[in-house]
């Protein structure tokens, strides 16, 4: 069964991971821009990163029959330095018309600061200006609930963003209902130690339904698993969920959300 990995940081993964994902049925990956594990010292670092996302990774993925798409932004952590963040934001238009760019992301909050919030709002405005989808990172651990609410309030304060064009990622049991009730798409990130396990993701689907929700591995340089989505499919199958439901969650739903970008050209 084919699936879409809607959130994977493939710049941090090996070519062998691409091969394993292809063997597991992955046909497309969307890769948000994120924190590299260290703060970059100059805007040129982001220029190189955006070039990697728009040129090098699509070619690497194509060798395994996987379509590669990406999102551009300055991440919430480095967004706490507003001067530097605005320099990075100024180069995004240079890349935004590239054929594999789906939108602005993953923007959001890290420590729920005024600096981060200001840069988040400016990147929401950028998405509106260029008619782009938005992919949102919500904070970690104890900061998630407060940050998720601040993020939704800021998007709604903009007044020009349809929540159906925004995916709010890393939801858990304490945030998923409010995200869905306010009309946003919800992403569940399958991590071994933090965020959601496959079992909890299946629980959330059983409790809150299959509309406007997807699962992703968010595989990166940390403790993460590029095959988390197919493993979650096994969990759903074990519980007796139908192939139609599993296909909806791991292919149809990301396909529907991402297809709101004209650059997403994956065949259904």
């Amino acid at each position: 069964m084919k699936y879409i990995e809607p959130h994977g940081h493939m710049v941090s993964r090996t070519t062998a991971d691409y091969k394993s994902m292809a063997l597991a049925g992955c046909v497309a990956i969307s890769e948000p821009a994120f924190w590299a594990g260290y703060d970059r010292s100059a805007v040129q670092g982001f220029h190189d990163y955006f070039s990697q996302l728009t040129q090098y990774e699509p070619a690497r993925a194509a060798k395994f029959g996987i379509e590669h798409y990406c999102w551009l932004c300055i991440n919430p952590k480095e967004g706490d330095d507003p001067g530097f963040a605005r320099e990075v934001i100024s180069i995004i238009p240079e890349f935004i018309s590239h054929t594999n760019v789906l939108g602005i992301g993953e923007i959001g909050l890290n420590k729920n600061t005024k600096n981060e919030l200001a840069i988040f709002e400016e990147q929401v405005a950028l998405a509106v200006k260029y008619d782009q989808l938005i992919l949102v990172h919500t904070p970690h651990l104890e900061d998630k609930l407060k940050g998720t609410r601040l993020i939704m309030d800021a998007i709604e304060a903009n007044g020009n963003v349809s929540p159906g064009r925004v995916l709010i990622d890393h939801v858990e049991e304490h945030t998923v209902k409010e995200v869905m009730d306010r009309g946003y798409w919800a992403g569940m990130t399958l991590y071994p130690d933090t965020k959601c396990t496959a079992q909890r993701a299946a629980d959330i689907i059983e409790m809150y339904g299959t509309q406007q929700i997807w699962m992703n591995s968010a595989c990166d340089w940390g403790i993460s698993d590029p095959l988390a989505v197919p493993k979650a499919r096994m969990e759903l199958k074990h519980r007796g969920h139908s192939e139609d439901i599993i296909h909806k969650l791991t292919f149809d739903n990301p396909f529907t959300f991402l297809s709101q970008s004209s650059n997403f050209t994956l065949a259904e």
């Binding site: 706490d80 600061t113 600096n115 919030l117 104890e142 601040l150 519980r239």
Partner: protein, 101 residues
């Protein structure tokens, strides 16, 4: 069957997941034992994360539902203030440390 039910029946859930969660519970018990065995262990030793964990353990057996949501809320920052910058802040620690702690 309610709209939010798991397709597995009760006994199948036990068969599928009991041993895994038994092991996690014993890990938790051993973690608490390890704290007691710390070479500087004393009654005055406290940590806001361990305090939150003990509160969460009580919540698990209070007879109410939606335990996962309530545990996550117990570990969450419910403050409304917004600091200007993250400079000098630690990364997320998993529970909330009150300013006086």
């Amino acid at each position: 069957m309610s709209d939010s039910s798991c397709p597995l029946d009760y006994s199948a859930i036990v068969e599928s997941y009991f041993l895994e969660h038994r092991a996690k519970l014993i890990d938790l018990a051993a973690f608490l034992d390890r704290l007691d065995r710390a070479h500087d262990s004393s009654a005055s030793n406290t940590d806001f994360r361990v305090d939150a964990l003990r509160q969460a353990m009580a919540l698990l057996n209070d007879g109410e539902g939606e335990r996962a949501r309530r545990v996550l809320e117990l570990f969450s920052d419910m403050s409304i203030d917004i600091p200007q910058s993250a400079e000098g802040m630690k990364g997320a620690l998993g529970a909330v440390q009150e300013p006086s702690e």
